[in-house]
């Protein structure tokens, strides 16, 4: 009986809580090896898109490849910064820079090697995409990637314009 109650609790809790909208203070690394905070990217005139990914995650790479193809068109009409935060650990962190350059991705790449930021933002599975408005609030998020999700991101960014 206790078992069922606990499982029920797991299913019910999310229904009664509201999305959090603050960013934690935590530092991640830039590709140049510097400590940076995602708060450093907040500005008065730009929204932030954050996408958690890894080199070995197929849907993540598909999502970032699709967005890279339309990135120039998007930046012409919208003001945003795109942070692609890799959660690759030691097994593959070294590949991140080569892969990003080799694929000609236009994003700002950050490294969250021991998944501290991922954990602080309560991300359980990747890809997980957030949109942060100019005030630093999370206004949109999506877990997983299905082809076409990128247009949802586009629509949300258009609303923030």
């Amino acid at each position: 009986m206790k078992k069922q109650l606990v499982i029920m609790l797991f299913v019910v809790i999310p229904l009664f809580t509201q999305a959090q909208n603050a960013l934690p203070e935590l530092k991640v690394k830039s590709l140049e090896g510097k400590d940076v905070s995602i708060k450093d990217f907040l500005s008065e005139d730009k929204a932030i898109v954050i996408s958690f990914w890894a080199t070995w995650c197929k849907p993540c790479v598909n999502e970032l490849t699709e967005i890279a193809d339309v990135y120039d068109e998007w930046t012409e009409e919208l003001d945003f910064v795109f942070l692609a935060i890799s959660v690759d650990d030691t097994r593959s962190t070294a590949k991140v820079k080569s892969m990003v350059n080799g694929k000609e991705w236009p994003y700002t790449i950050l490294l969250d090697q021991n998944q501290e930021l991922k954990r602080a933002l309560n991300v359980s599975t990747i890809p997980h995409t957030f949109i942060i408005n100019k005030k630093g609030e999370i206004v949109f998020q999506h877990q997983g990637y299905t082809p076409g999700n990128e247009w949802e991101v586009y629509d949300e960014l258009t609303k923030l314009k």
Binding site: K3, V6, I7, L9, F10, V11, I13, P14, T17, Q18, A19, Q20, N21, A22, P24, E25, L26, L31, E32, G33, D35, T55, W56, K58, T65, D69, D89, T90, R91, S92, A94, K95, K97, S98, M99, V100, N101, G102, K103, E104, N114, Q115, R119, A120, L121, N122, V123, S124, T125, H128, Q141, H142, Q143, G144, T146, P147, G148, N149, W151, E152
Partner: protein
Amino acid sequence: MFMKILSCILFLLILSSSVKAQKTGILSGSVESNNVRYSKDEKTGALVPDDKFGSNNYLKLDYLWGNISAGLQYEGYFPSIIGYSNQLDGSKITNRYLSYTSSQLNVTVGHFYEQFGSGLIYRTYEERSLGINTAMDGVNASFTPVDFFKIKGVWGRQRTYMETGESNIRGGDVNLGIQELLHLSFKVDLGASWVNKHEDYTGPEEDFPKSVDSYAYRVQIEAGNFSLYSEYVDKGIDPSIANGFRREKGEAFLLNTGYSQKGLGINLTLRRIENMDLRSEREATGEVAMINYLPALTRQHKYALALLHPYGASVAGEIGGQLDIYYSIKKGSALGGKYGTKLHFNFAQFNNLKEGQWASPGDDVLFSDLSFDLTKKWTSKFRSVISYVNQSYNKGKIEGGSDEIIKSDIIIGDLQYKFNRKAALRGEVQHLWTKQDELNWVMGLLEFSYAPKWTVFASDMFNYGETDIHYFNVGGSYSYRSTRLALGYARNREGLQCVGGICRFVPAYTGFNLSLTTRF
């Protein structure tokens, strides 16, 4: 005593900062629930436990209040799913912490995750899909007085399944930025770490090493297109079950080098490890009480048949490396087409060690993997990935029990067609040829998705060489914002499941699965 003093300091910090902190805090969290209902399957001889259900659940809550955060993780296994340790059982609050973060100082009391260097000497982490959580319960502090110097410390005891281990671990790490110090035009960082563990010993041997000290030294260079990372670990004498009570020191050497420019990325990694299993419990085996992190440095494949024979690092001794080349053929060129073409080449090989010759590989190839991928977008609606993989898996040396070497060739085609901005169809065809083990395999998958919410898929992996067993998998998922619900029915093959090069053995099982993940 030390712990008490630290708790006091932390409490004072909380008081002093609360004055300028926000008026109200923010609660956030996540829920993950994975459930299986097993069914009888005579074809694979899958085990059906008495209790036909398996259920792994995680609830995480964090409260952020200015510079202060506090949180907990509750885990419930009712009982744990097949393949996870049966010591993951019942439910409790497994992790809890209180922490203070500012730009210079970071202190956590309670459970924490931390990494020194590349983790060769110390890394505590969580990997739910393998049932790994090596968090330490104690104190973690890091201090950055000037931007080119950082010092970190950890002390406490390690989580072992649902309990806390009995040995004490402490460690320190310093990082020094030479670029800032000498005003260089490129980045050079030097670092050093120390880790000590002390575990009581009540056995008969008089000079048994109860206290084990290990040291690591590293350098990182980022100069324009070039990057280099190297680390060396000197591990103390640490006889344990995992290393067969070996009375010798351990050693690890890692070298990563890379060159990249727009459209081209090259990466070469070399690593030699010997007697590097480092755990907080002398008696521990399996996925528990690891202090350091030793992933296999081979390609992490994304397709099922290329994952049929996965490699986990041979921590007792291995030497080898891997090379990656990423290349983009320009848009508009003859081969590049309108959207460009992406190429990826990878080669990885690890051998046993050669007695007396530090830098030479031994005569046995433990694992080798060569792969080549071509990704091309043909039109705005259609894209394809073609992949070739050649693997050699030394089953005898890796799993023991035979001297079989499985040599396989795999060809993979992955095609995707987008009907419009929402609907897409994806298909995979894979074939594996081998003259060893269970001989040939074929695999097919079809997936239809309707963005942003719906996906349905069906796949079948068929061994037509020997067993004639179909490993089917059908399912679907629904995602809305931060919530995802997935439902499926699958026949799972007995084998190693690996994430990040750390593997666990999963017996065959068949059944319905339901999983829910959400964050709030």
